[in-house]
């Protein structure tokens, strides 16, 4: 096993780091994806049926298939899959042998479960004092809710959903599973902090990340709304349009290519630039006469002119023309259009990679670049148990004959 001191020829920030990953679902795997994508070796320990994320949408034609879940493929790039039944004493022992050799262990099981299997933080850190043991759980390792279950909607309900949606209706969640992934990214922050400390001072520790807290501490209408309530006793109102109220003028407009651009709410600083871009003599006259009042007095005229301007331009050309004049207009994407976004494509953001079952697909690329690089897909998500033999031989010293016995007993797969 490469130790920290031997990471000299590293080409990625975390090359040489060994992570033993017991996490399942979304938050934990997003954390270990970030570690893996930036160079760490991540050995993913899966239960016999596989990480439940393998059963999560999307699937080709919406037909579930453990090897074709778009969710799993996204979250598990660059990881190796080892199937061990850690509920079995011998299986737990094998997992432990690997875990104490690691730089980082990450897990997401119900508090107390790992300890009951001899894989608890105290136990492993006693065996390897430099180990970082990160737990990413719904509510953390302590407190009255620690055994509660959580999904994406529960995480958002308990941390910000009260302000999301229409005041006339039920609150509504954010798209997809963004809350869980942000929780994983926050766990990565704490883990990297602990790792830096371990490298400087030689001491590991238990990092306890609760999605309940990453969400109540997040920026999006929560952290400062909590302080606003403390300050003034008022709660955030539910509003579908976020960001300085519903504009009478401005918003989304359809372009010649059938796609849309948005002006957002038109900021006072930008009104003159917009008037210049639109080039309409009547509006220019009103702008000269009444200044910013034109926004409140003539929203219909402005909307009609912007609509006419957008309608005869391709969306990207409209964006660039406005931006060149300092008027913030951008194209409106959706996840499908995003795959063809001219800017992201030019930056090489999408990375096409091949998977033996799911085929060739575009993957989200680098979330950040360290010195212009640092991120790579070295391999796509693993097939279930594809690395069991090789990893157990290398990291747990399991011999071939033992492997046959363990497989026959169902301890590994």
């Amino acid at each position: 096993v490469p130790s920290r001191g031997e990471r000299n020829s590293a080409s990625q920030p975390l090359t040489g780091l060994l992570v033993v990953d017991f996490t399942e679902g979304i938050a934990g795997p997003y954390c270990t994806k970030l570690l893996a994508d930036f160079g760490a070796r991540v050995v993913k320990i899966e239960r016999r049926g596989g990480d439940p994320a393998r059963t999560m949408a999307p699937f080709p034609g919406d037909l579930p298939d453990l090897e074709k879940s778009g969710m799993f493929l996204h979250l598990n790039t660059n990881k190796e899959s080892v199937v061990i039944d850690i509920a079995n004493t011998e299986g737990a022992g094998i997992a432990r042998t690997m875990a104490v050799r690691a730089d980082v262990v990450v897990e997401s099981s119900r508090p107390g479960t790992m300890a009951s299997l001899g894989l608890g933080a105290d136990d492993l850190i006693a065996a390897n004092p430099r180990l970082i043991f990160t737990s990413i759980t719904p509510f953390g390792q302590s407190g009255p809710y620690k055994d509660w279950e959580m999904t994406e909607i529960v995480a958002f309900a308990m941390g910000g959903m009260s302000a999301s949606g229409s005041a006339a209706r039920e609150p509504v969640k954010l798209a997809g599973n963004v809350v869980m992934m942000q929780s994983g990214a926050t766990a990565c922050v704490a883990t990297l902090g602990a790792l830096f400390y371990a490298e400087e001072h030689g001491a590991g520790q238990h990092v306890d990340v609760a999605t309940f807290e990453t969400q109540n501490g997040t920026l999006d209408r929560r952290r400062y709304y909590l302080l606003s309530y403390e300050y003034s006793g008022t709660t955030g109102e539910r509003a579908a349009v976020v960001g300085a109220g519903r504009p009478a003028a401005g918003g989304r407009f359809e372009c010649a290519d059938g796609q849309m651009v948005t002006t957002g709410r038109i900021w006072p600083d930008h009104v003159g630039r917009m008037v210049g871009v639109l080039g309409d003599a009547d509006l220019a006259g009103l702008w000269e006469d009444m200044g910013l009042e034109v926004m409140a007095e003539h929203p219909d005229l402005i909307n009609r002119l912007v609509a006419g301007w957008a309608a005869v331009r391709e969306s990207r050309a409209a964006m660039r023309e406005a931006q060149a004049a300092g008027w913030p207009v951008v194209v409106v994407n959706d996840p499908l259009l995003l795959l063809d976004d001219d800017h992201l494509r030019a930056r090489g953001f999408w990375v096409t990679a091949d998977h033996p079952a799911a085929g060739s697909l575009p993957y989200t690329g680098a979330p950040w670049r360290v010195d212009g690089a640092g991120w790579a897909i070295r391999r796509t998500a693993p097939l279930l148990g594809q690395d069991t033999d090789a990893v157990l031989a290398e990291l747990a010293g399991v011999r071939e004959d033992e492997m046959l016995r363990l497989r026959a007993a169902g301890t590994v797969a």
Binding site: M71, V189, G193, D208, R223, Y224, D342, V370
Partner: protein, 430 residues
């Protein structure tokens, strides 16, 4: 006040200069401050930062606009120094220091470079090119301090055909593609400022990776986190749906392709709600049991997820009858005790009295010179050996000038007095 930052956290001894504006970058530096880094926010008396500290002269009165803005100030009163009293700033600036210098003047630039010499990192999310215009671009800074780690957080990155595009968070969230698939299935779509939120951990992670790399190489680097790209990484399941099935993903609202039923249900009381997800057929059996085995849910077709997805509207009516008679926390507790993921919709008042958050020490009572004593949200993580500390409330403008100039940069008393006269150093915007 000569308050000293106690040594705590894994980043003790690491100094980070904060040149961020508005919220996203400030959330990154907050996470680093909670890890124990010394974060120094640099401001200028000459340039009032509206996106960071709110309007300089907030509207005051009992009209709707004034009232809605006033809620972000203590006792709904912006006071004589509204910039020191704004919740958006004070919620993320606790644990940070604040010093003033005018970077647009040669003297300010020189002082800044002296500070850079003694720092480990710099984080900024200004309009692209601003640092270069001020003569403090990365090449200049790293010539002064080759170990300096610079994290830049432009919305679309520093290169590429649209890298110079400007806009607010709501522009770039629409460009990121999330809004078309977010909100009620039959409309309207619903906005958020999730991108800024996601940028917080993103910028902090970039800094930490560079810091770990620096231990090996001895060299600082420039990191770039294009906020839209980081945001899109949180949407990988959605872009995979688009890529695999060549379609725009459905707008699911509160429902889910994986769990059925899933939704937000009305509870006893005004604007009170509970959410739940049924992840398996077994959990469905437990849910119907908890609901008292209603006949309407006894059909065999509902035994499978696909059957329940088809009958979701009818199922929701039955669940709502049950939830309507209970306060949200009671409903959530009963559901959780039956092993079904559920939670009350916690507004700010409910969260601030939540027993789990308090028992875990999430809130910290802090005294602020202008705002008084309030509970503040604390760190977003816990650590056993190097736990985060929340050692003080947000700084007021220039509160740490003496510390930063005399203790860190090392200016003399005479020089300090001269800097006051030259209006680099001060505690009021000009």
């Amino acid at each position: 006040v000569t308050d000293r930052q106690p040594p705590f956290g894994p980043l003790r001894g690491i100094r980070v200069l904060d040149l961020t504006i508005a919220l996203a970058g400030a959330f990154s530096t907050m996470l680093l401050a909670d890890l124990g880094a010394e974060v120094i926010k640099i401001e200028s008396l000459q340039h009032y930062p509206t996106p960071t500290k709110g309007p300089r002269r907030p509207p005051r009165g009992d009209d709707a606009v004034s009232m809605s803005g006033a809620r972000d100030y203590p006792d709904s009163d912006p006071g004589p120094d509204p910039w020191n009293r704004l919740s958006w700033f004070n919620a993320q600036a606790r644990n940070k220091r604040d010093a003033t210098m005018d970077l647009t003047r040669e003297r300010g630039r020189d002082l800044f470079l002296r500070l850079v010499e003694k720092s480990d990192g710099l984080i900024e999310n200004n309009a692209s090119g601003l640092l270069e215009k001020l003569g403090i671009g990365p090449d200049v800074l790293q010539r002064v301090n080759p170990r300096l780690i610079i994290v830049r957080m432009p919305p679309l990155g520093s290169w590429g055909p649209d890298s110079s595009a400007t806009g607010f968070g709501w522009h770039f969230e629409d460009l990121s593609g999330v809004l078309r698939v977010q909100g009620y299935p039959e409309g309207p779509e619903v906005g958020s400022i999730f991108m800024d939120g996601a940028s917080g951990p993103g910028g902090a992670n970039a800094f930490l990776m560079a810091l770990i790399q620096r231990r090996r190489t001895g060299k600082g680097v420039v990191c770039e986190m294009a906020q839209v790209e980081n945001m899109v990484c949180h949407m990988g399941d959605l872009t995979m749906d688009a890529a695999i099935n060549h379609r725009r993903p459905r707008r699911w609202g509160n429902r889910s392709p994986d769990f059925a039923p899933q939704g937000c249900y009305p509870c006893a009381g005004k604007d009170e709600w509970v959410v739940l997800s049924v992840r398996s057929d077994e959990e469905w059996v437990r849910l119907t049991g908890l609901l008292g085995g209603p006949a309407a849910l006894a059909r065999g077709a509902l035994a499978t997820r696909t059957g329940r997805l088809d009958a979701h509207d009818q199922i929701d009516l039955v669940i709502s009858e049950w939830t309507r008679t209970r306060p949200p926390m009671d409903a959530a507790r009963e559901l959780q005790e039956a092993g079904i993921p559920a939670g009350p919709v916690l507004d700010e008042a409910a969260a601030l009295s939540d027993p789990q958050l308090h028992e875990r020490g999430f809130f910290h009572l802090l005294e602020h010179p202008s705002c008084g004593v309030h509970f503040h949200p604390g760190a977003n993580f816990a650590m056993s050996r190097t736990p985060p500390e929340i050692w003080r409330a947000a700084p007021t403008l220039g509160q740490d000038n003496e510390y930063v100039y005399k203790d860190v940069i090392g200016v003399t008393e005479a020089e300090f007095d001269q800097l006051i006269a030259e209006r680099h150093v001060g505690t009021d915007y000009i």
